[in-house]
């Protein structure tokens, strides 16, 4: 039981770290929305999570644990509209990705909170409730 809970907690913590990583990356894209020549970057969350949690099918190399930190393989965004200064940040896309990622980060947080609470409930003695 505890092993399964720990496993689930581990999975969600990996997901949370990747979400935080993606949030940081998108924040960098938004910050560089007016920088000439800046190329927007992002990573494939599903593939990165698969690789980080070991549930991989041949894409294990896309995530390296560099000094204990997750560093998923970054990809460059394909611009939907070209701009004269070679900046490929699409503000609409970045904003929606940022909001989407924030909501998913929060939902992962809730999953973790749920697991923690389940464990705490399991540890309580019956007359304590």
């Amino acid at each position: 039981m505890i092993a399964r809970l720990t496993e689930s907690l581990d999975f969600h913590s990996q997901a949370l770290m990747l979400r935080a990583e993606r949030q940081r990356l998108i924040a960098g894209n938004i910050a560089n929305a007016d920088t000439p020549g800046y190329q927007a970057r992002d990573f494939d969350f599903a593939a990165a999570l698969r690789a980080a949690t070991g549930r991989t099918d041949g894409i294990a190399s896309s995530v390296m644990h560099a000094g204990g930190r997750l560093s998923p393989a970054l990809r460059y965004a394909v611009p939907s509209q070209t701009s004269l200064d070679n900046n490929t940040v699409d503000m609409d896309r970045e904003r929606s990705a940022f909001a989407d990622n924030a909501v998913k980060y929060e939902s992962t947080l809730r999953f973790i909170n749920g697991s923690v609470r389940t464990m705490l409930d399991a540890m309580k003695s019956h007359n304590q409730a």
């Binding site: 935080a20 910050a31 947080l109």
Partner: protein, 140 residues
Amino acid sequence: MSMLRIFDIAGSAVSAQSQRLNVVASNLANADTVAGPDGSAYRARQVVFQTALMGSAGREGDATAGVRVSTISEDTRPGRRLHDPKHPGADAEGYVTYSNVNPVEEMVNMISASRSYQNNVEVMNTARSLLLKTLQIGQS
């Protein structure tokens, strides 16, 4: 904590955008400045943004990209010249040289800077609320 870095990133962007706004304000304020005795009027200035790597750079995964203002360039276009012999700043031919600020360009620049500033403030607010919720893991 990679989320804490968001404050560095968005903070650098906010300060770069506010510097841009500063330059725009200075340009607009000098839109009608005439040339002094040396014959050269105020020249419009533009900030040039550059991606600034923050933290330990070099590793691919550490691609924390902030912004900084690399240079402030001066517009080299000639200023407007108006024939106004009665103006105290007029030259020998009766022409007054004004600054080369284009108010329309500056207004557009101002709106763009203000939107980017707002975007980055929102990024910081989102990161802040997410971090505060992260701190409450396990508390009911």
